[in-house]
Amino acid sequence: MARAVTSQRKAINTAIAWTIGFLIFFPILWTILTSFKTEGTAIADPPVFLFFDWTLENYAVVQERSNYMRFLWNSVIIAGGSTLLGVIVAVPAAWAMAFVPSRRTKDILLWMLSTKMLPAVGVLYPIYLICIELGVLDNRAALVIILMLINLPIIVWMLYTYFREIPGEILEAARMDGASLRNEILYVLTPMAIPGIASTVLLNFILAWNEAFWTLNLTAVDAAPLTAFIASYSSPEGLFFAKLSAASTMAIAPILILGWFSQKQLVRGLTFGAVK
């Protein structure tokens, strides 16, 4: 807003906004703080905020006891693999829709969106059965493919909206200058498309990382990613706040950092271009 604002009003805004922001962020902050406490301090009443003996012990215990690295690796493979595969399938499709639109392009896009609306629970058993029949229950490759399929509509949509912003005149100019199709794609389109592709990859990596229906229902031990790792802490006998916090912090830290970079893409990706 271009209005002149008194600095007093600005100070009030700042105070209110910071307080609310802090409150919303607090559960995450509290989890991170607790992960550095001993189990005794973690449940102390009154609660201790900053002045305790910081320890890294919980992280060591969590890794030792549950082999955190294996779950992390599964998450990386599943989220990364499904995103990569999705982009490979989606880039040509989105490119064709954006640069060679036909009468049916809009219908195809909307139909793709509609497959995203299919409730997972409605097709849980068929997918479960197919995985058993093919012997790929608790298998990373199977999850890579399933997560690729559930995120494919979002990937195509995001890429489509980015590609459409690339002006067609530039392509025509390149063609006039005698660029071959290969050069056109390599030297003209790719540099302009890379930021869009990067944003798409980022958002879909986050979505796949946090996906918790298929990963919980189709994995047991071998392919279980971090979502399942954390869910295993829900049994009451293994309940230790500090260790739970350490495990949680390790599960969310990578994605929290990536997430902050993808704020803008979030709006575009999850509203299918309806809000810009």
């Binding site: 040509p92 195809i108 229906f213 954390i230 739970l244 929290l256 704020q263 709006v267």
Partner: protein
């Protein structure tokens, strides 16, 4: 520029994505429909033949059905009301001039990136635990009796957890919409002496109408299928069984595939009713 040649190339480029999604949609859907007309109990006799619409009738007449519909409506409705109302207020606040706006935005948006199993577990134990949870410390500090959140007010607790996860989404989209509001319009209204409330109801709210609709539709689709938050906290106990969770229990826990599949078909129909409205808005926007 589109020649016949480039058209067929385009079709060829779209083919993998279209075929994959077509398979992903049709194969499981056909199987769900097929099972829904069968009496199929993998652990108790397997395929016991066709039963017509029996499963459909039994699913809606079972004693668990209506409570699960009500729980679903309460959770979806509760979360929508909370996230949209707080989201509007928060978006308007974040639109004001302040110091460190970027940092506040980051703080507000963070819960959206926390994986559902983590947020459910952190809330369940570290905040809502009746003896050691932070909320019970707070209650005791004020001399009140701590609440056993997830067994005394389980549905409210789940609404709280899910609202915390989805408030960032609503805020972010509404903020994006508010920022596109022409500030001159507001200034003009202010100069004409329109009070704060009427400025909100006659200028800001109508401007946000479309964004609110989109938030409501997209969140509804995601909220109808929340799973991890219930799986981790109550496991469907204490009346927190939603339609999604009921179907999950029928299919995987009690292995009554026929019955669960009929429930799945209901869920698909329900989601499609919401989806049609969303698609209409998105489709209209594409022409513009």
């Amino acid at each position: 520029m589109a020649t016949q040649h480039s058209r067929s190339a385009a079709r060829f480029m779209m083919a993998p994505a279209v075929i994959l999604l077509l398979g992903w949609m049709l194969v499981p859907l056909t199987m769900t429909l097929y099972f829904s007309f069968k009496s199929y109990l993998p652990l108790r006799g397997g395929d016991l033949g066709w039963t017509g619409f029996d499963n459909y009738v039994r699913f809606v007449t079972s004693s668990a059905f209506w409570p699960s519909v009500i729980t679903t409506l309460v959770i979806v409705g509760g979360v929508l009301v909370i996230t949209v109302c707080l989201g509007i207020l928060l978006a308007m606040l974040l639109d004001q001039p302040m110091w460190g706006q970027g940092i506040v935005r980051i703080l507000v948006i963070a819960p959206f990136f926390v994986m559902p199993t983590v947020s459910a577990l952190v809330w369940k134990n570290m905040f809502m635990d009746p003896t050691n949870g932070l909320l019970s410390h707070l209650w005791r500090f004020f001399g009140a009796e701590p609440v056993a959140w997830l067994s005394e007010v389980p549905t409210t607790s789940i609404v709280m957890i899910v609202s915390w996860q989805w408030l960032p989404f609503a805020t972010l989209i509404l903020l994006t919409a508010i920022q596109s509001l022409d500030s001159e319009q507001l200034e003009a209204a202010e100069m004409d002496g329109a009070p704060h409330l009427s400025r909100f109801f006659y200028i800001i709210l109508p401007h946000l109408a479309r964004a609110i609709t989109i938030v409501v539709l997209i969140q509804t689709i995601f909220l109808l299928s929340i799973f991890a938050e219930i799986f981790v906290t109550t496991g469907g106990a204490f009346g927190t069984r939603t339609l999604t969770y009921l179907i999950y229990q029928r299919v995987l826990e009690s292995q009554n595939v026929g019955l669960g599949s009929a429930g799945g078909v209901y869920a698909i129909i329900l989601a499609n009713i919401v989806a049609i409205f969303l698609m209409r808005i998105v489709g209209k926007n594409m022409d513009a």
